[in-house]
Amino acid sequence: MRTISYAAAITEALAEEMRLDPTIFHLCTDAPGPLLREFGPTRVRATPIAESAMTGIAIGAAASGYRPIVDWRLVTFCFVAMDQIVNQAAKIHYMFGGQAKFPITFRTTVGGGTRRAAQHSQSPYSMFMNLAGLKMVLPSTPYDMKGLLKSAIRDDNPVIVFEAGRLAALTGEVPESDYTIPFGVADIKRAGSDVTVVALAWLVHEALAAAQVLATEGISVEVIDPRSLVPMDADTIRDSVRKTGRLVIADEAGPTAGASAEIAALVTEDARTFAALKTSLERVCALPVPVPYAPGLEDHVFPDRKRIADAVRRVMGEQRSRTAG
């Protein structure tokens, strides 16, 4: 099977869907080159810098028989569109009693590690998770991205596809065929028996790296990638925690009311799963601060494989390792 990058998987999914369905058009403050060349400026539009209007326009066009894709680019730019996202897109199907459908895909990039400081390094997906009316996914591999983005585009509802900025160049095997991945299905990225690590986006790969090191210490780590934030696959997570009895959650966002808190609640509110826990869970999240600029500061704020490994060792009842790895 051929190998392509996460970014290429995105372009491939967009192009394939646009070939299949002429009602799809793409709005972005910069029209992406390959799509613009293939589909032209009517369907691949460069917009003024006006994310609120772009979002509202997508809603109105979706109600009128089209299937818009809006690229907010960095997630920070969608905050000016919050009324259109929260008060309109999330609620519009419900408050009008289901009179129309609103098939919209929002694309946006999350995550840090680029030294672009507070406003450009965020992972605010939990803000949107709390709303009813939006579906959202956070793929961590090229394979997951292509399948989930296609599902998002084909879904007749507003879906946010969070693209992990750090993973743009990550390569992986991606079928050339047309395939979709359903929402609400987590992926067990690595099977294990001692500890469940539920990780998001870039931290899936950090968790996998930590798992390799921990394996040499005799600790068997199961890494679960939810992939889909809303709906989230609680069953797969609970099944795993019932098997291992130990849980570490890794999320690049801050801990307070984060996706990590939601996962912790899903696990502990289920009686059978709660009963299987051998110890309290650990969350490995960003420090609760705006992201700073200086490389040393930013690296200190964000979790990584070392912090995930330390958390695993702690839930295994061991002292935090003083050696690297």
């Binding site: 326009i57 109105g60 109600a63 009324d83 008060n87 309109q88 009693g97 579906k135 007749d156 509802n157």
Partner: protein
């Protein structure tokens, strides 16, 4: 534009009267506790919705504000389903899930009343984009107030519509007050239509209480849009007869003399006068018959609403997503 016939003039009067009587009943029902939450009466502004919608077809789309009953009626909505929605019944347009501020009939191109000031302006701009892509000459109309013309979405939307030459007509209902804040102190220009020049599109000021003038301006803007010449901003000078909402604690800080002066410009009275005195097209019998028919229709709507079952509690879980 083509000559407006007496039939069309009477039809517009009937629409305005229907809006008026519907709003009066909705207000009493609200005060009686049968309609909940909040009601924003369109009384006094009927000529704007009526004149504009008279220039549209069923396939054209509109969007409205928190004060949306009038636009819904003018676009051709069913009074029964409207009143049932206000009463919070299952048979309402939104299955009781929206209420007054989210009244909508997507089948006839009414994309909803919207509870956020300026919240609908970019949405209807998107409907305009869809109309342009469809290539069938259809248009989209956004209604909003003087307050909304100060908000971001207004400016973003006009700019994009102008750049892309979208077939959108932006209708500003300037009733001089945003709740209790006068436009005189919060809008930087006296005529909101002047803002159109900033976006390179035509801006027109209209006597919003003259339904024929509104129709003429709307028809010209619609023709431009259908011909691919892009958007227009129409500012309708008008006034609401009542307070911002019907809530008992709603203050009304407008000067009494100002209110009285505008009451004397009642759009319905002016249309009646034109039909009777200028054209001899509406005698006492016809006028009384029209009143009776309209009242009968509004009564029927209330009866329908009262007889409709309330939604089952479990239905609260439905319609979050389309299947």
């Amino acid at each position: 534009m083509s000559v407006v016939t007496p039939e069309q003039e009477r039809a517009m009067l009937r629409t305005m009267l229907t809006i008026r009587r519907f709003e009066e009943r909705a207000s009493s029902a609200f005060h009686a506790g049968d309609i909940h939450g909040v009601v924003h009466c369109y009384i006094g502004e009927e000529a704007v919705a009526t004149g504009v919608c008279a220039a549209l077809t069923r396939e054209d789309k509109i969007i409205s504000t928190h004060r949306g009953h009038g636009h819904c009626i003018a676009k051709g909505a069913d009074l029964n389903r409207m009143m049932a929605e206000l009463y919070g019944r299952q048979a309402g347009y939104c299955k009781g899930k929206g209420g007054s501020m989210h009244i909508a009939d997507f089948d006839i191109g009414m994309l909803g009343a919207n509870g956020i000031v300026a919240g609908g302006i970019s949405i209807i701009t998107g409907a305009g984009l869809a109309a342009q892509l469809d290539g069938l000459g259809r248009v989209a109309v956004g209604f909003f107030g003087d307050g909304a013309s100060n908000a971001g979405p207004f400016h973003e939307s006009l700019n994009i519509a102008a750049c892309w030459k979208l077939p959108v007509i932006y209708v500003c209902e300037n009733n001089l007050w945003a709740v209790n804040t006068p436009a005189a102190s919060s809008v930087s220009v006296r005529d909101i239509a002047d803002r159109a020049a900033g976006y390179g599109i035509p801006g027109v000021v209209v006597d919003g209480n003259d339904v024929l003038a509104v129709l003429e301006a709307a028809s010209a803007a619609v023709a431009r849009a259908r011909a691919g010449q892009g958007p227009t901003l129409i500012e309708c000078k008008t006034y609401r007869h009542r307070r911002h909402t019907e809530r008992p604690d709603q203050l009304d800080e407008r000067p009494a003399e100002e209110v009285q002066a505008w009451l004397r410009q009642d759009p319905i009275e002016r249309q009646v006068m034109r039909l009777r005195e200028q054209q001899g097209q509406l005698n006492d019998e016809e006028w009384q018959a029209m009143e009776r028919e309209v009242l009968r229709a509004v009564d029927a709507a209330v009866a329908f609403a009262q007889a409709s079952p309330v939604p089952l509690p479990e239905s609260a879980l439905e319609d979050v997503f389309a299947p």
